[in-house]
Amino acid sequence: MQSKLSDIELIEETLAGNQSAYADLVKRHQRFVFTLAMRFSKSREDAEEIAQDSFIKAYRSLAAFGGQSKFSTWLYTIVYTTAMTFLRKKRLNTSSIDDEATFIQLESQNSAFDNNLAENKSRSYYLNKAIEQLLPDDAMIITLFYKGEQSLEEIGTTLGIEPNTVKVKLFRARQRLKEKLERNLKHEAKELI
């Protein structure tokens, strides 16, 4: 019965002191929040830390959520700022995909990983690999647009940019992703030959 409640109803129950309602909210959004965190950190441990911190911050600020936007949009804004802070702290390498050295490094990592999964590769596997090679912002926009059910306006709210800028960024991100995917597939074809 609890799972049928809307986000707003679960928030109201949480604010009334029912912590299990918040657990339901976490369960509902954890996969997407974790995926977003994975766009910023390639390590599962770090991504879990980002996702966990985001949910804790959201819980602490829940009373401040006015309901002007969807809860998911509000939550993704918290994930974005938490991930950015995390990146700054960890000083992770977020170099450009145009950086040749980065690409060579990623290619060699992929090759090693690919060899273990030679038979089991699907197009979606290559798509995920290509997304991993994108800049965090590009990967985030694509994920929000395709999996977060977010409009350009809502993505703009999450990232703090204009909807038109989101449109341009989304176009460029898809272009880069397509190039990456094609390059990886070509590379794989050569390996097989």
Partner: protein
């Protein structure tokens, strides 16, 4: 100028105007290049739509709730006190002091000429408040003052550590 891909993405995403939509739809039907790029982008779009989300570890929800419970338990008693109670107490004292001040000033004999001879008629409270009540009142004032001092020092300490 929009490239073919840009126009087609707007068409696929549904972000173009009705007129643009009509124009692009016509181009897809009539122009081979447009048709080819459109099919390619549509297939790519479909792939993106069905990509799977990552799954966090099994105890993720439990870990989040446990972290929240731990933080809640660590919350100091100070933070648990309703701020409204403090405000009401502060307002009571401010009003009491203000009333006493106004009453006192209103009863001053200003015509005496010499300021040293001005008489302050402080209302006698002996009849209204017992000695033990007065002691309790002073004790409460001291506690409140210490509480405010504690809050001030904590804030200053936090600013220093930031």
């Amino acid at each position: 100028m929009n490239t073919i891909e840009e126009r087609l993405w707007s068409y696929i995403d549904g972000t173009c105007t009705a007129q643009e939509k009509e124009e692009i739809s016509k181009l897809i039907q009539e122009d081979k290049e447009y048709r080819m790029v459109y099919d390619e982008l549509l297939s790519f779009n479909q792939e993106l739509s069905v990509m799977e989300l990552d799954e966090p570890s099994m105890p993720f929800t439990y870990n989040v709730m446990e972290a929240i419970r731990t933080q809640e338990a660590q919350k100091p008693l100070k933070a648990a006190i309703d701020v409204r109670i403090i405000k009401v107490i502060a307002a009571f004292f401010i009003v009491t002091i203000s009333v006493l001040l106004i009453y006192t000033i209103a009863n001053v004999n200003w015509s005496a000429g010499n300021t040293s001879a001005v008489e302050f008629k402080i209302p006698s409270i002996k009849n209204y408040i017992s000695k033990s009540a007065m002691q309790g009142f002073i004790f409460f004032d001291v506690v409140l003052a210490l509480y405010l001092l504690d809050g001030y020092l904590r804030k200053r300490n936090n600013l220093k550590t930031m």
